[in-house]
């Protein structure tokens, strides 16, 4: 009786567990595979429905349309530019600040830490921030993507916590060799922070790449500052409730050339894939860093 129960129980549990896990994997992956299939299927055929995991009428037209040199192609490069520039700048400045507050002897260590940490608890809100951006003449300027979010309190604390785990002797010996704080930071601390910087870089880059609200708010009247996510957003809102190819797309110029094959639905699928791809490619390699980083982040003061 007892042995029977012991043997039956794990089997029941494991089958249940496996079903849940497979279900989760399917529910997570299916939308991607479906989008991928739609993106390689001819637009006029997709309207007929029934595309699941594999394209029925294979075509690359949707991608050709995206990269045909129109607005979407330009938006792609704006997205790349803002991601790269903001990530590099943010990493450098945040870790430099983190280094200064990791120095126990620094006079302003406490006040700086408090001022930064407080920014996690409140923000002035949408309207005052909008006016600030306006007063600084950042509206409809590329800099509005870079400048406002350079320093994040959370990232600063994560990096500082990491620097504090490095052996103090490293900094002392650099100082004895005559290096100033800036030299010490650049040539010793910055390179040693690589693991934590990888995590923070991932967070900043993903945030930049995925961001659309700043475009919407601060640069929507400037066509040549549009980003990939913003283009996708415009397509989404124009075609969410009308799946027919009659829906007017904002990416008109790219589509007119290949109108028969390409519909808003299919081009949306292609942009979704293009905008998800960098993340899908990079992220398996980053996994060990960000799991570690999550744990670092929960290490408190």
């Amino acid at each position: 009786m007892k042995t029977k129960q012991l043997r039956a129980e794990p089997i029941v549990f494991h089958s249940f567990n496996t079903i849940v896990m497979i279900l989760l994997a399917v529910v997570t992956l299916y939308p991607f595979l479906n989008t991928l299939a739609v993106s390689f299927n001819a637009g006029n055929d997709t309207i007929r429905g029934g595309i699941y995991l594999w394209p029925r009428v294979w075509t690359q037209q949707n991608y050709t349309a995206v990269f045909a040199g129109g607005a979407i192609y330009h938006a792609f490069w704006i997205s790349v530019a803002r991601t790269v520039i903001a990530t590099v700048l943010s990493l450098f400045l945040t870790s430099m600040l983190a280094y200064t507050v990791s120095r126990k002897e620094y006079v302003f260590r406490k006040p700086i830490t408090i001022i930064i940490v407080l920014t996690m608890y409140f923000n002035a809100g949408l309207i005052p921030s909008y006016f600030l951006i306006k007063d600084l003449h950042l509206l409809n300027s590329f800099y509005v993507y870079i400048i406002p979010g350079l320093i994040s309190a959370f990232n600063m604390i994560v990096i500082r916590t990491y620097i504090q785990t490095l052996p103090e002797g490293l900094i002392e010996s650099a100082k004895i060799d005559g290096a100033g704080d800036f030299r010490t930071f650049i040539s010793i601390i910055f390179p040693l922070c690589q693991p934590v910087l990888a995590t923070v870089a991932l967070f900043v880059a993903v945030g930049q790449w995925n961001s659309w609200f700043d475009t919407f708010l601060y640069a929507s009247s400037k066509e040549n500052l549009s980003t990939l996510q913003y283009e996708l957003m415009k397509l989404l809102s124009s075609s969410m409730f009308s799946n027919s190819n009659a829906a007017v797309s904002s990416s008109g110029s790219a589509m007119n050339a290949v109108q028969n094959m390409v519909t808003p639905v299919s081009i949306r699928a292609a942009i979704t894939i293009v905008s998800a791809l960098p993340i899908l490619v990079v992220y398996p390699f980053m996994q060990k860093y960000f799991v570690h980083g999550m744990q670092l982040g929960s290490v408190k003061e």
Binding site: L24, Y99, G125, P148, S298
Partner: protein, 321 residues
């Protein structure tokens, strides 16, 4: 023992020393100051200076006028807010969606972490975990696009499956039914974040002393008993802390999902405070009212966060943020 007198004597002098030599130390820290103070000026401009804009909530703000010419109205905007039906509805939506998201988010992440922890095969476990984090890194634009596709009336997989199984005869227009909206938002959050949110519980489960499980096995406890009496109590404190901390963010129901999935038909159930602020402030130009709504949100959040911190400390854990 031997070091005690030394500390006793060195402490007062060190303190006097710091007081005296702050200027001197600053002179030796020029590089540190150059490295940090410009960044601090930046932080003050971008994070602190805009608070000045809160004065708008106490005025009938008009962009054409100078600050000295603005008409001051006291708390009129706030009083108006709380008599405004739209705002009260928006407040209800914000709290409602927040609570649902929180409950679903917690339950699914904990269940997922526990189930994942039962998998012994490393490769299998890792694969599932990798898949589960994936949506966390996608933008809400992509996710809402996927949600809209999935729930679509022509060719959406949900309607397809339900129809093939015979549950419904004709496709349901999910996104046009006001009473489904909160559920759809909660479902989208779960889909996007369940794997990510489970990370912290998985870490907590792995730190449970394995000898507890061994002891329970000797006592004849089965899998469910071990889960109920060891795993769950083992992560109880982290769950409570996170729950309390999340209560602090109750007015942060999000903005993007509701804005992107919402439409004219479901507007009474989809709009949150953030959308209200955007609409009244930037689209209708009622800056004062929108700022007042924003201040209300921030004030409630700060109060709740600090209260939550205090309660969390009482549970014997440090502040989490």
């Amino acid at each position: 023992m031997a070091s005690t007198p030394e500390i006793m004597t060195s402490k007062p002098s060190a303190k006097a020393g710091t007081k005296l030599s702050v200027m001197k130390r600053m002179r030796g820290q020029k590089q540190l100051m150059l490295m940090s103070l410009p960044i601090m000026i930046y932080v003050v401009i971008f994070s602190y200076y805009p608070i000045w804009g809160w004065t708008m909530a106490f005025q009938n703000y008009s962009p054409a006028k100078k600050f000295s010419e603005q008409q001051w109205v006291g708390f009129k905007q706030f009083i108006f807010l709380f008599s405004d039906e739209t705002f009260l509805r928006v407040l209800r939506n914000t709290i409602g969606m927040s609570v649902i998201n929180m409950v679903f988010g917690f339950v699914t992440a904990i269940v997922f972490a526990i189930l994942l922890n039962e998998i012994k095969n490393k490769l299998y476990k890792r694969t599932i975990q990798t898949i589960s984090y994936l949506p966390h890194f996608l933008s809400w634009i992509i996710v809402t696009g996927i949600v809209a596709n999935t729930l679509s009336v022509d060719g959406g997989i949900v309607n397809d499956v339900l129809m093939k199984l015979g549950f419904i005869n004709e496709p349901i227009m999910w996104l046009s039914k006001p009473h489904y909206f909160w559920g759809i938002v909660a479902g989208s959050h779960v889909w996007k974040e369940v794997g990510w949110n489970a990370i912290i519980y998985l870490a907590a489960i792995t730190s449970i002393d394995p000898s507890l499980y061994e002891a329970a096995e000797i006592d004849g406890a089965n899998r469910y008993k071990k889960m109920m009496h060891i795993t769950l109590p083992g992560i109880k404190s982290i769950v409570i802390i996170l729950l309390i901390m999340n209560l602090g963010w109750i007015l942060e129901a999000g903005f993007e999902v509701q804005y992107l999935l919402g439409n004219g038909v479901v507007i009474d159930w989809s709009q949150t405070i953030d959308i209200f602020v955007l609409k009244y402030g930037l689209q209708l130009g009622n800056y004062s009212l929108a700022t007042a709504a924003g201040i209300f949100k921030t004030a409630v959040s700060i109060t709740l966060i600090f209260a939550a911190n205090k309660i969390a400390q009482r549970f014997g854990e440090d502040r989490l943020i």
